[in-house]
C-alpha cells in the first residue's frame, strides 16, 4: 500500500546541503508492522514525514494506495493526510489548554465530521487507550505514558489505515513503554499498518519487519542485527 521509488530528500540551508534521505526504495504491505531504527540524525523523522506527506521531496515517486502524491495540491495532501494517516509525533504534541476530548477531536474537525459522529469516535478511541474516564482532564494532569496514549487515541480516532509513530516510547520508562507497545500491537492486529521509529532494539524486535536508516540509506535488516546497533 506504500511504495517509494528512488525518493531523495535534501535540506538546503544557507551553509550546507543535508542529504537527509537518498534513493529510498521501499514497499510496505497492508497490515505490516515496521520498525525503523538508526542513529540520531540518520533521517528517521524525515522518512516518516515523507511517508506522512508532511514534507515534499525533490526526486523519485511515492505512491500511497496506488495514488502518486507527487504534485498534488496542498488541499488534496491535507485531505489525504487527515483521512489515511494517523500520527504519533516524537514528543506528545498535545494541545495543553484543551481537554483530552478536545485534543482527540481536532483532526475529526478538520475532517468535517458532525458532532455526534465525532463524539462516538472520540469516546471509542479514548476507550481503546483506557482513558475514557478522564476525557475532561487536561494533558498536564496525566502521566507521560497517559499523555502518549492520548496522542495515540488522537491518531486512531480518524480510523487511519496507516499509523506513523515517531519514537512513541521515547519519553517513557520501560514499563510504560511496554504498555504503549502492547497497545500498538493490538491496533496492528486489528488491521492498521504501522511504521514506528524507535531506539529500543527490544521494542523493534516486536515488529514483524525491521528497517534501518543509516546516513539517509534505508535497508531491511534481520532481527538478530538489531542488538548490534548503536543507539
Amino acid at each position: 500500500m506504500l511504495s517509494m521509488k528512488h525518493v531523495s530528500k535534501i535540506y538546503r540551508t544557507d551553509l550546507i546541503e543535508t542529504h537527509a534521505l537518498s534513493d529510498v526504495n521501499l514497499e510496505v504491505a497492508e497490515g505490516d508492522f515496521v520498525s525503523v531504527t538508526g542513529p540520531s540524525g540518520s533521517g528517521k523523522t524525515t522518512f516518516l514525514n515523507l511517508a506522512g506527506m508532511l514534507e515534499t521531496f525533490e526526486e523519485g515517486d511515492y505512491l500511497l494506495d496506488g495514488e502518486n502524491i507527487k504534485g498534488l495540491s496542498d488541499n488534496r495532501l491535507s485531505r489525504l493526510r487527515n483521512e489515511k494517516i494517523g500520527f504519533i509525533f516524537q514528543g506528545f504534541n498535545l494541545i495543553s489548554d484543551l481537554s483530552l476530548y478536545d485534543n482527540v477531536e481536532v483532526p475529526l474537525i478538520f475532517r468535517g465530521l458532525n458532532r455526534a459522529e465525532r463524539k462516538k469516535r472520540i469516546e471509542a478511541s479514548l476507550e481503546v487507550v483506557g482513558l475514557a474516564s478522564r476525557m475532561r482532564h487536561l494533558p498536564n494532569q496525566l502521566s507521560g505514558g497517559q499523555q502518549q496514549r492520548v496522542a495515540i487515541a488522537r491518531a486512531l480516532a480518524g480510523k487511519p489505515r496507516f499509523l506513523l509513530a515517531d519514537e512513541p516510547t521515547g519519553n517513557l520508562d520501560s514499563l510504560m513503554a511496554r504498555q504503549v507497545m502492547d497497545l500498538l500491537q493490538d491496533i496492528n492486529k486489528k488491521g492498521t499498518t504501522i511504521i514506528m521509529v524507535t531506539h529500543d532494539p527490544e521494542l523493534a524486535r516486536r515488529a514483524n519487519r525491521n528497517i534501518q536508516i543509516l546516513d539517509g540509506q534505508v535497508s531491511d535488516i534481520q532481527q538478530s542485527q538489531l542488538t548490534d546497533m548503536a543507539v
Binding site: D74, R81, N82, Q90, D97, R111
Partner: protein, 450 residues
C-alpha cells in the same frame, strides 16, 4: 461553522495580552484619527455651500496713498456713506446685506430669569435670506419695520430657551439696555458653525440676536467692532464707537460689513462695473486714493482662507501618521502572536488542516480584534472630542456658546464611517502578512524533536 468559531476563540485565547495590546493600539489610532478628522472636517466645512461662490464680501479701499500693501482679507470695512450710496443706486443684487456688531444686556420684561449679555449684530433684514436662516418661530422683520426703526428683534434659540423655556415667544417683549423690543422671530443659528457674517469666522461665539440697523443707529447702541478711520480722524474713534452717530455717519471711518449675493455672473459683472465707476467718481471727488479701490471676496474664497488652519492641518497630518504607526505596530504584534503559535499551527497542518482553514481561523481572529478595536476607538473618539470641547471652552474662558462648540466637536457619522472603513481596511492589510506567514508553515515543521 461552530467548529470554526471554536477554533477562532481558541486562537484568540492564545497570548491574550497581545489581543489587549492590539485592541488598544487600534483604538488609540482610531481615536486620534477621528478626533482630528472631525475637527478638521468641521473647521473646513463651508457655510452655505450651495451659494458660497455667489456671496461676496464687498470692500472699498479708502486708505491713504502711503498705506502699506496688505492682503485683500484685511481691507477696511465700509463707511456708512458708501453703504448708503450702494444701497440706493446699485444695479441689482439678490441680497445686499449690511452688518455691524453690537453687544447689550437683555432681560425679560418680568424679571424671572437672569439677564444675559448678548453678542448681536445690527443688520438689514435681507441678512436672513442670505444666511438661509431657519426660523423656529416667526420671521424676519419687515421692510416697513426696518424703515421705521421699529423696536423689533430676532433672537436665537439658545436665548429663547433661557428666557422662555423654549416656548413660542413671538410677540413677547424683552428689554435691551432697558428698551423694550418685540420679538418677531426665533432662529436657530447653530446651522452655521462659524460666525462668517462679520468676517471673523469665529467658531467660539456666534450672533445671539439680530436687530434692525436703523433701530441701532437711532438708539445709539454701541458698536463693538473695529472702526477704521483715516489717520486724521482716528482721534474720534472712541466717540464714534459709543456716542456720536451723526459724526460717524458723516465720517470716512469704515465700520460696516457689506455682503452682496448675486443671481449669476451677469448680475455680478454689472454690479462691479457700476461699483468701479462709483469708486472712480468718488476718487475724483477726493474720497479715495488708491489705484485699485474695489475689492471682493466670495464666501468660498474666504472659507478657503480661514479654513486653512495650519494648526488643524498639521495635527490632522500627525494623526494620520500616528494612525499609520499604530497599524504597523498592530501588524507587528499580530506577527509576534501568530509566530508564537507556529508549533500549534504546524500540528494542525500535520493533523490535516488545510491552508485555507488556517487562513480562515486567523482572518476571523483579525476581524474580531479589529472590530473590538474599532468599537473601543469610537468610544475613545467620543471622549477625545469631549476633551477637545472642554479645552476649547477653557480657552475661551467659558464665554463661548456651548451649543455652538458642541456642534463643532460632535461626532460626524460620515467621518466615523470613513475612519472605520479606513481602519478595517488597514487592519486587514496589517493582518495579511502575519496570516500569510502562519498559513505557509510547513506541516510538522515545528514538531521535530520534543
Amino acid at each position: 461553522m461552530s467548529e470554526l468559531i471554536k477554533q477562532v476563540l481558541h486562537s484568540l485565547k492564545h497570548k491574550k495580552n497581545l489581543n489587549i495590546l492590539m485592541v488598544f493600539t487600534i483604538a488609540i489610532g482610531i481615536a486620534l484619527m477621528t478626533t482630528m478628522m472631525t475637527i478638521a472636517h468641521q473647521e473646513l466645512k463651508i457655510s452655505l455651500p450651495d451659494k458660497s461662490d455667489n456671496v461676496h464680501l464687498i470692500m472699498l479701499d479708502n486708505r491713504e496713498l502711503d498705506a502699506p500693501v496688505q492682503e485683500v482679507y484685511a481691507m477696511p470695512r465700509t463707511t456708512y456713506k458708501d453703504v448708503e450710496n450702494i444701497f440706493s443706486s446699485n444695479p441689482g443684487t439678490l441680497n445686499l446685506v449690511r452688518l455691524w456688531e453690537t453687544r447689550f444686556i437683555a432681560e425679560p420684561e418680568e424679571l424671572t430669569v437672569r439677564p444675559m449679555r448678548l453678542n448681536a449684530s445690527a443688520v438689514n433684514n435681507q441678512l436672513f435670506d442670505l444666511m438661509e436662516m431657519p426660523f423656529i418661530y416667526g420671521n424676519a422683520w419687515s421692510l416697513d419695520d426696518q424703515k421705521n426703526s421699529k423696536a423689533v428683534i430676532v433672537i436665537d434659540k439658545t436665548v429663547n430657551d433661557a428666557f422662555f423655556g423654549g416656548a413660542n415667544s413671538v410677540g413677547k417683549r424683552i428689554l435691551i439696555e432697558k428698551k423694550p423690543m418685540t420679538i418677531v422671530g426665533v432662529m436657530d443659528i447653530s446651522v452655521h458653525p462659524k460666525r462668517f457674517q462679520n468676517r471673523n469666522f469665529s467658531t467660539r461665539r456666534n450672533d445671539q440676536a439680530f436687530i434692525p440697523y436703523t433701530f441701532a443707529l437711532e438708539n445709539n447702541l454701541n458698536r463693538v467692532a473695529r472702526i477704521a478711520c483715516p489717520k486724521n480722524q482716528t482721534a474720534n474713534n472712541r466717540l464714534y464707537r459709543n456716542n456720536d452717530v451723526a459724526g460717524l455717519k458723516a465720517s470716512e471711518c469704515g465700520f460696516e460689513v457689506l455682503w452682496a449675493e448675486f443671481k449669476d455672473k451677469k448680475q455680478s459683472d454689472a454690479f462691479f462695473t457700476w461699483l468701479n465707476a462709483y469708486a472712480q467718481k468718488n476718487k475724483e471727488m477726493g474720497r479715495f486714493f488708491q489705484d485699485k479701490i474695489v475689492y471682493a471676496l466670495s464666501l468660498s474664497q474666504m472659507m478657503a482662507f480661514y479654513g486653512d488652519n495650519d494648526w488643524t492641518q498639521t495635527l490632522a497630518m500627525l494623526s494620520y501618521l500616528l494612525f499609520a504607526v499604530c497599524i504597523v505596530n498592530t501588524s507587528g504584534i499580530m506577527l509576534a502572536k501568530f509566530q508564537s503559535k507556529a508549533k500549534l499551527v504546524s500540528l494542525y497542518r500535520a493533523l490535516g488542516a488545510t491552508k485555507n482553514y488556517i487562513v480562515k481561523i486567523h482572518f476571523f481572529e483579525v476581524i474580531i480584534i479589529s472590530f473590538i478595536g474599532i468599537l473601543l476607538g469610537l468610544v475613545l473618539s467620543k471622549l477625545g472630542l469631549h476633551i477637545m470641547y472642554e479645552i476649547a471652552r477653557y480657552q475661551s474662558d467659558y464665554l463661548s456658546d456651548p451649543k455652538q462648540l458642541q456642534a463643532l466637536y460632535s461626532i460626524d457619522w460620515n467621518m466615523i464611517i470613513r475612519a472605520a472603513s479606513i481602519t478595517t481596511f488597514s487592519v486587514i492589510a496589517a493582518g495579511i502578512y502575519p496570516i500569510w506567514r502562519i498559513s505557509n508553515l510547513a506541516p510538522a515543521s515545528q514538531l521535530r524533536g520534543a
